[in-house]
Symmetry: C2
Subunit: 333 residues, 2 copies
DNA sequence: TTGAAAGCGTTACCAA
DNA sequence: TTGGTAACGCTTTCAA
């Protein structure tokens, strides 16, 4: 016993005080119907008296269930992810699950070890926008229940956003405003969402015979966006679509610094609708995802898997919605 | 065994394959010096062969150490907290600790149960800006190592920001600009930081003989700030200081909506320097805290406690720095 | 240097 | 309905 730390109350202490066996304490607490009311009473009283709370760790050893879920994500500094984590956490609490969090700092190489490290302590994983190669992630198939968010990769169930539709809406909006040439500032090459959005954008522009200019890949951060801004201006594009809001914000910032009018000279569209998108000047037109739903839906998808039901390969696609704000306007003449 | 889930590799499997006892496997892996090189070789080979990773849960049962730390915070949607969590997480990973995260959604009543639920699975806690009453938190003293962030409460070690100095800088700045009447939009009453900042502000304004107007308490969110904006305008104040940046952003937003010039008619100062503070228009003058340090320092304070050393009541106070941006200017004449 | 055995706190099983 | 016993996977004595 470590000095200064109170010894934890165990089931035996309760059993002793209640004058019953440990088995009965266990039953009385887990399934009150299986013991005599009188016993239940005694046990409950003793437990309360001693402030007994069963040790989940010990329990998990025998039951094989930890009541923990692991959440792995690339970067908590990207405001998109805290929203997701929060919704996961909320749903998990409702179900009496605790949440392990692992931020991989956008380093694909850290993901597999991170998952490995948590594997024994969780009943399942929610992988948010994982960056690791398909085959690396697939090595966990069959080992632990896994639901992937913002990426599709067999054989895992997934929750994704309907990027194609979001891009269609954004392009329709810009087309209606007279834009014919759009630049895309891409996010990490390792991001499935990035490829998905790019694909959707390509389809949408092609469908309307518009020009799509590739402005290269940058980090999904404000600095990344700022770095891309000058490249974008050097093209023929009158509008720019960013992989996410942070990049879009960086574009806005740099445009502002250079005295480039938004949307006068160029229109800007983001993706995600993070909180701050509405607060900047001009407020950012962006494609909103039901961020709060992602976590909830993910947990609910994971639940049956953790219970042992092979609900295989559910693919939930959440709707997207273009939010039109001040950063988009008519194309310059 | 649950269908479809691969049976985990245990120490016995390794022992069998290596042709040694479980004890030897344990020793070979934990302290290679205590076994013959040949044995070590055989064990390591077998472990690699089978992909064996010791079960931390089982280990913790006997060692009493989980290598997990629990992080409890009020609201991940407040951009301040993800920064803190990220720095905790980074430091924890360096030390091979995993992080449990619990978001209490600003509900003080949820904190104690949240801590209780995690208690058996962690070696210690980092409580970020806990909202629960002192006595509730103190009930954990002696049970588990706890370090409190953004609040001071005996007998726990704490990491706080030097709010008084931050406020002094902000007030000096406003005073120099000619402001003589300042409004304060307070955050949650249950927030120690709020009281600390308010106290610092009171001292700073008193020291300069300035008027301090109380604009009431609001939720530490953009909406909270927006709600307070009109109240602030109804006072004599020419500058307003908000409990945090989110509130300040809400003020800016509402002022903008009402056509109130910032800083022409009124200057606005925030606290925390969250990412977006620099991105809004006008960019927000704010008091920066070394957010990334908070987590690191917190973990480092927790470490000796978890090792059993009673490092008692260290109190680390991190410096603050006023960041002057566009939202503050000369007082109107 | 090694193996056997005990034990961590709990739940599951089998008898009574 | 209850208690005893085994077992979960691991580490830690204690002997050999």
């Amino acid at each position: 016993m470590i000095k200064g730390l109170a010894m934890a109350v165990t089931i035996k202490d309760v059993a002793r005080l209640a004058g019953v066996s440990a088995s009965s304490v266990c039953r009385a607490l887990a399934d009150p119907a299986r013991v005599r009311p009188e016993t239940r009473e005694r046990v409950e009283h003793a437990a309360r008296e001693l402030g007994y709370h069963p040790n989940r760790v010990a329990r998990s050893l025998i039951t094989g269930r930890t009541l923990n879920i692991g959440v792995v994500l690339p970067d908590l500094a990207n405001p998109f992810f805290p929203s997701v984590v929060k919704s996961i956490q909320t749903r998990a609490r409702e179900l009496d699950y605790a949440v392990f969090l692992s931020d991989t700092d956008e380093d694909p190489a850290v993901e597999v070890p991170a998952i490995r490290a948590l594997a024994k302590q969780v009943d399942g994983f929610l992988l948010c926008s994982p960056r690791a190669p398909d085959e690396d992630l697939r090595s966990f198939a069959g080992e632990k229940p896994i639901v992937v968010l913002n990426r599709r990769i067999t054989p895992f169930p997934s929750v994704t956003a309907d990027s194609a539709d979001g891009m269609r809406q954004a392009v329709a909006h810009l087309h209606a405003l007279g834009h014919r040439s759009i630049a895309y500032v891409a996010g990490p090459r390792t991001s499935w969402s990035n490829r998905d959005r790019q694909r959707g954008l390509r389809a949408a522009t092609a469908a309307r015979g518009m020009t799509l200019v590739d402005a290269g890949n940058v980090a999904p951060t404000v600095d990344g966006g700022a770095a891309a801004a000058d490249l974008v201006l050097a093209t023929s594009a009158t509008a720019v679509l960013a992989y996410n809001d942070l990049i879009a914000l960086g574009l806005l910032q740099r445009f502002h610094a250079r005295g480039v009018a938004v949307p006068g000279r160029i229109s800007v569209v983001g993706f995600d609708d993070i909180l701050v998108a509405a607060l900047v000047g001009p407020p950012l037109t962006t494609v909103a995802i039901a961020k709060e739903q992602i976590g909830r839906v993910g947990v609910d998808l994971l639940l049956p898997l953790m219970a042992g039901h092979e609900d295989g390969t559910a693919r939930r696609v959440l709707p997207t919605q273009l939010i039109v704000r001040g950063s988009t306007g008519p194309a310059p003449v």
